[in-house]
Each structure stands twice: as structure tokens, then as C-alpha cells.
Symmetry: C2
Subunit: 425 residues, 2 copies
């Protein structure tokens, strides 16, 4: 028996690893969504997203909590029995794995307005965003499957992550992006030597085109939520929180949400820790969305999805049709969390607070977590003794244009003018 | 007796820590350069730069090589007896130290054109550059001295480093920059909440003004080379190389050189390892400069310094009068290294190679190390079995304008156009 199998989030059907991963099991095409109910439709959340499952009862016996807590953050290959790779040793040497090691020091602790806050800083990963968590697993799975070319649709970070990690490991990447992608993000993708396809149209069109061309060329596809490795890879942050907090779990975690894959990955990771008996309850996951891109908030409130074109300055959480909507909403409700919206103004103000109080330049989407936290504090929804953690998921230097919105153009003075000014103080 | 003392690099005079660090020892002003021979003159390298020295014979007895090698990279406070802070415990809690932890995984190993290359990746430090090594010690020294405000002159990275680390630890920063600084770097400094002073003039004028205002306001001054903590802080990379290579030392290290402080810090660190008997010889330090900013190269060749205005795309190694010229040249010659120049064209080509082969977007100055390496390989100056290490000292996302110089503006196509193109392949 393989150490893992697949389970459909929608219809609960189970499949062996071979059934999903061997080409031709269910017809000619490589399988990503559930072979029974999977659907990828335009402007709709994906249906039949697959989850990776393990034999937790067995793991419970073979794995020790104390040993797990000794694994350094970022070295995901060290908990290999909780990772859907048959054998790391067989597919990649240790020195290559080290090249894609994730951030080692994600947890920072600050005092802010009289309260202790934990910040999970994922802005120092290899390509400076949380996306590297998904990419690292996707790329390893491609290597295991013997595929050398990987494609993804992206609005920026996922693409630069795939391009960068592929460059590190010597694979070829193909990135499909809408033509209005910020130029700073576009140039990162190009710089890593990826093949870049600029699509006249929006992210949805790039997404569909990428699926079609990937099938045609037999490239491995990294589209977010569509490839189950993206959710599975993103669970590593839950483990890194558990490890860096030495076995304690925050009461509330504020998570920026666009397509809903990060929050789903976090939920997956914490659920596994719960199944292993290593934590006693799930942290409350607070999904924070931009007001102009809040399909998860609306779905949690009404149980319905209706497509609305998205509009927000926080491009990494810009998603009219969150691909992993259902799983994200499930993560929120099952963890007894909630989903809230924040305005672009609040996001920019949060970006400033994060830079000036924590010394981290986070991208606007990341700042949403802090904006959500502040909203909670204002409404009195956090009690004094709760442990709160904010997820910072991308580095603000990936696109500095937002920073110009709250920093003035400074005035230049001669040395004599400056001296006079200081003397007159 | 204090665990460390100061020694002038120029006249070899020795001073106790108290003599240098207590205000008023030698007149009214805080001391940075040698009280006997120190000179900071316009467009000249600094004279009388101070070095921190320890009782190595004593350390040799009390410190174990094996224990040292177990310290995680980036946790500089763990080798506290080789750091000029009297007691970390007394001045700062552990959780605050963790906020300024340096990169944990600096060492990457690649195969490139049939040869193994080590890359020291300092692009993932808190503010994404090597400068954080200097800043972290400067800031801790300020805290120890009871000073809350720190000033620096900068062309970008040092300023954003000081601004960011100060934000992390709750100190106030004052950054003096020439008015032509790249706007991307300027906005990072501002974003961290620093007080920014844009000076009509060049770096030299900003440097002098910063010294003058720092004295006037009694701010601690972080000007590079001028403050001995900048060199001392930068030695940590030598320790991190030693630790991450498990006690082996590269044969050759290629170092981008502007003001000459990084190479001096590396030399200082390796010299200490040698004094402790933990390594058998120094690595050869190869100083790589831009052709239009190569005062160290000229000094090593001729023994003379003559000021020439600098001009290079690699703004972080742009230095007409390298402040730490004499120590940098000493590091090169004593380590049996050499100093070479590379053109801006070679630097840009190296930036591309680094991104596409190593998956790292390094800034142009960092790419100089790779350009220097390629020059060595072309001239047959590296033998097949030598261990080579390239220093990457700053993240390329701090200013993406250089990337545009070697990436084309991509053409946008409709989904149908892309499909046709793929089908016709």
C-alpha cells in the first residue's frame, strides 16, 4: 500500500496514488481533479478538488510529537511520511533539496498597542512568497513523475515562484499571465528564464489556456487548487507554526484569502496535527478578503456563489471566482473562524503599520491580515489573553507601486539648508 | 578586563572598550576612528579605522570548534564571546533578538558548466541584503550605549537596512541619501518610517553631513567603515560560511567590493578562525569591482589612491573613494587573493546567469562576484579541484530597473492566437 491516497473534497470518493498519478488511469489525460465529479468551469470555483490523505492511525503509532517538534522550520522533506512523495532519496540529492529550503525563522513576536502579536513571516522564502510552499511540492512531484516541464497560470507570485524554483532545480517553466500583470512581477518571471505567455484577457482566460496547452504539450500543471499538490504543499506552514511555537497553537490566525488555497493548506495541516493527537483543537482561521474581491465572505454568509469581477489593489488576493472557494469556506466554518472584508484603504494603512512597527515590507495582500486583525480589535472581538497570529504571505518588494501611495515624494535640500534646519530646531 | 578591545588598523594603537565607547574619553565627541590618527576627509578613504580585538589565546582554551560548528547560521548572538557586546541578556530579550536573525540557509551548491560552485546567498536577510550583518551589531551597540536614535549615510541598502532593523527593535533612524538614489531604494527607507534626508549632492556630501548632524544631535552613527561595528558585524558571514560548510573553507571567495567593508569583515572573520586554530589557512579573497569604480583594484596594483568619480550600474558598489580602502587591500593581499574589474555589461550578463541558473534575483553589485568568477575561468586561473564560493550580497528586487536591461518587453496575444501558435509547433 502507498503511504497516501487521494480523496475528493466534493464527493468523498477515494483513489489510490497510482490511480491518480499514473497516466491513462481514467482516459488519456493526466488527472488533477476528481475523476468522478471534477469540473473546471469558467468563472466558477473548481469542483472536485482532490485532497491527499494518509493513514493517520498508523502515523500516530510511528511518529513522535517530540521528534516532529525538533525538525527545523522550512525543511519539509524531514517529515517525509506526511508528504506525498514516495522517496525523496530516490528522486533528488540532499544538496538540491537544500536549494528550495523554505524560511527557517518564520515566527516573529511583537508587542503592538499593548498586546503580544505573532507574525508568520513568509516573505523570505526562495522567491519571497508563500507560493514557494506549493511550488516546492509541485516541482518534486513533477520530478518523481519524470516530467521536466511545468506550466502555471498566475497573476504574479505563483508564476515567479514556479519560475524561480524551476531555475534552482534545472526544470523548464511555462507561465501564462494576463497582460495587465504588474510589470515588476512580470519581469521576475522572465528573469528566471521562464517561457512567459502574455494573454490578452484576464486571469480566468490565462487559467483555461494554461490547462489546455498543458494537456496538449503534456506539461505538468501547477494551476492553484487544480493541482492537489498546491494545497498539500501549503500545509507546511501549519507545521512550521506548530514547530516554531514549540507545540502551542495560536487561538486565531488571520489569513489573506484570494483563491482560498493558503487557508485550505493551513486547515489541512492543522487537521493532520489534530488527527495525530498532537494538538487539542484547531486554531480559528479568520479569512480576510478585500472588499472588492470577497467571494468567500459572501459564500460563508449566504451559502451561495455568484461571480463578480474582482477589484482591489491587493493583486495577490484578486479573485472573482476563488478556485478553492468550497474548501476555504469549510476551513473557516469548521475551525470556528469567520470571513471578513477590508477596504483597500485599510489594506494600505495596514501595509504602513507592518513596515513601521514590524520592519517588514509586506505586499498589500499580506497586509490584509493585519487590517483584518485591526478590525477585530476595534469591534472588541479578541479577548485579552488570546494568542493571535498574522500571516504575511508575500514580500512588498515584488511590486513597490503600492508603497508610493502612502509615502510622499521627499524634498531635496543642500547640505547648508539641512544644517540650518537642524540648528534652528 | 573587558572581553574585547580596539586596535587602530593604521597606527596599531590599542584602546580599551571603555576608552572608545564612553563619551568624553578623548574630548567631547563620541569616538569612532582612532583617537590618535583617525581622519575622515572628503573624497578620501578613512584613516585610522578601528578594529575590535579579543583575547584569542583565552578563547582558544574556552571555546570548542565542534560546539561552534553546531551554532545555527544567522544566530550571531550564540557566539557571544566573539561579539563586542558585554551581555546580550542584559540589553535585549531573546524574542527581540530573533526578529533580527540573519538568513539560516545561506549556502547553496550548484553545478555550473561542469564545476561545483558554492553560492553564499545573503539576499534573504531581514531587509534582503548583507548590510543587515553590520546593522544588527550597530543597533545592539546603540542599545547597549543607551542611544535610541541612529543615523547613516547611504546609497540605498545600508539605509534601508538601518531603517528596517530599527523598526523591528523600536529605535528611530535618520538616513542621509544623495538625491539621485534609485526611487525603489528610497521608498524602502521611507516605508520603514525612517527620517529621510535627501541631499542635493553626492554620497560623499551625504556622508559628511550625516557625521556632522549625528554629532550635533548625539545620534549614534552607522556610516560604513567609520563605525567599527560595521566591519565587526560583517565578519559573521565568515563564521556562517565556516558553519554551513561544516568546518571546510573555500579556496577562493569572490566578493563584490565598493567601500570595502564586506571584504574586510570577511577577512576579519576568517582571521579569527585562523587565530583560534580552527582553520589552517585563509581563503583567497578575490575583490571584484566595476570597471568604473575600481579604486581598490588600482590601489592593489599601484599602492596609490587617487580619487576618481565612480560610474557603474551596480549602485551598491559605486564608490569613488572606498571608505575602507586600506583594510580591503590588505585583506586581498594577505589572503593571497587579487582584485579585478568587470564591465557593466559583464555584470548584467552575470545577473542573468545567476537568475536563470541559480534561481536567485541578485542585484547588479552582487552579480559582480559571478562576473569576476567567469573572468577567472576564462583566463584559466581556477584549477579543477578548487572550492569556489560566490558572495551574493543583495536582492535584485530592491531595484528592478537593471532587470529591464536584459529582458524584452513581451508581446501579448489572445488565447486563440496562442493556441494556433502551439498547434503549429
Amino acid at each position: 500500500m502507498n503511504k497516501y491516497f487521494y480523496k475528493c473534497f466534493n464527493c468523498s470518493s477515494q483513489f489510490t496514488a497510482d490511480e491518480i498519478e499514473s497516466e491513462g488511469s481514467f482516459g488519456k489525460e493526466r488527472i488533477y481533479l476528481c475523476p468522478k465529479c471534477g469540473q473546471a468551469e469558467k468563472n466558477q470555483p473548481l469542483k472536485g478538488v482532490l485532497l491527499v490523505e494518509y493513514d493517520y492511525e498508523n502515523l500516530k503509532r510511528s511518529r513522535s510529537r517530540d521528534e516532529f517538534l525538533k525538525i527545523p522550520c522550512g525543511k519539509f522533506w524531514r517529515y517525509s511520511d506526511l508528504w506525498p512523495i514516495r522517496s525523496f532519496e530516490k528522486i533528488i540529492p540532499q544538496s538540491k533539496l537544500e536549494r528550495i529550503s523554505l524560511t527557517h525563522d518564520p515566527l516573529l513576536e511583537f508587542d503592538y498597542t499593548g498586546r503580544k502579536i505573532f507574525v508568520f513571516d513568509d516573505t523570505r522564502n526562495p522567491t519571497l512568497s508563500y507560493k514557494d510552499r506549493a511550488t516546492s511540492l509541485v516541482v518534486l512531484k513533477a520530478i518523481e513523475l519524470g516530467i521536466n516541464e511545468i506550466a502555471a497560470a498566475s497573476t504574479g507570485n505563483a508564476g515567479s515562484s514556479l519560475a524561480g524554483i524551476c531555475a534552482r532545480l534545472g526544470l523548464k517553466s511555462h507561465i501564462f499571465v494576463p497582460e495587465n500583470i504588474p510589470s515588476a512581477k512580470r519581469i521576475q518571471i522572465q528573469s528566471f528564464g521562464a517561457n512567459l505567455y502574455l494573454v490578452k484577457g484576464d486571469y480566468d482566460q490565462a487559467f483555461d489556456l494554461c490547462l489546455e496547452i498543458s494537456r496538449m504539450k503534456n506539461w505538468y500543471n501547477r494551476n492553484t487548487a487544480y493541482n492537489p499538490m498546491t494545497i498539500e504543499g501549503k500545509k507546511s506552514a501549519a507545521f512550521d507554526i506548530f514547530i516554531s511555537m514549540k507545540g502551542i497553537i495560536p487561538d486565531k490566525i488571520f489569513v489573506p484569502v484570494g483563491d482560498g488555497v493558503i487557508i485550505s493548506g493551513l486547515y489541512k495541516g492543522f487537521t493532520e496535527l489534530l488527527k495525530l493527537g498532537w494538538i487539542e483543537k484547531l486554531p480559528q482561521l479568520i479569512a480576510v478578503q478585500a472588499e472588492g474581491s470577497n467571494a468567500v465572505v459572501r459564500y460563508v454568509q449566504t451559502g451561495k456563489f455568484e461571480y463578480q469581477p474582482a477589484s482591489t489593489i491587493a493583486d495577490s488576493i484578486h479573485a472573482g471566482a476563488p478556485r478553492n472557494l468550497y474548501m476555504a469556506a469549510h476551513a473557516v466554518t469548521t475551525s470556528l473562524g469567520t470571513a471578513i472584508s477590508v477596504s483597500d484603504e485599510e489594506i494600505l494603512s495596514a501595509q504602513k503599520s507592518i513596515a513601521q512597527n514590524f520592519g517588514i515590507i509586506a505586499e498589500p495582500s499580506s497586509a490584509a491580515s493585519f487590517a483584518g486583525y485591526e478590525k477585530f480589535v476595534r469591534s472588541g472581538s479578541i479577548s485579552a489573553n488570546e494568542n493571535v497570529l498574522l500571516m504575511l504571505t508575500g514580500n512588498g518588494l515584488k511590486d513597490t507601486s503600492a508603497l508610493s501611495k502612502w509615502n510622499d515624494e521627499p524634498v531635496s535640500k543642500s547640505t547648508d539648508e539641512w544644517k540650518k534646519l537642524f540648528l534652528s530646531e
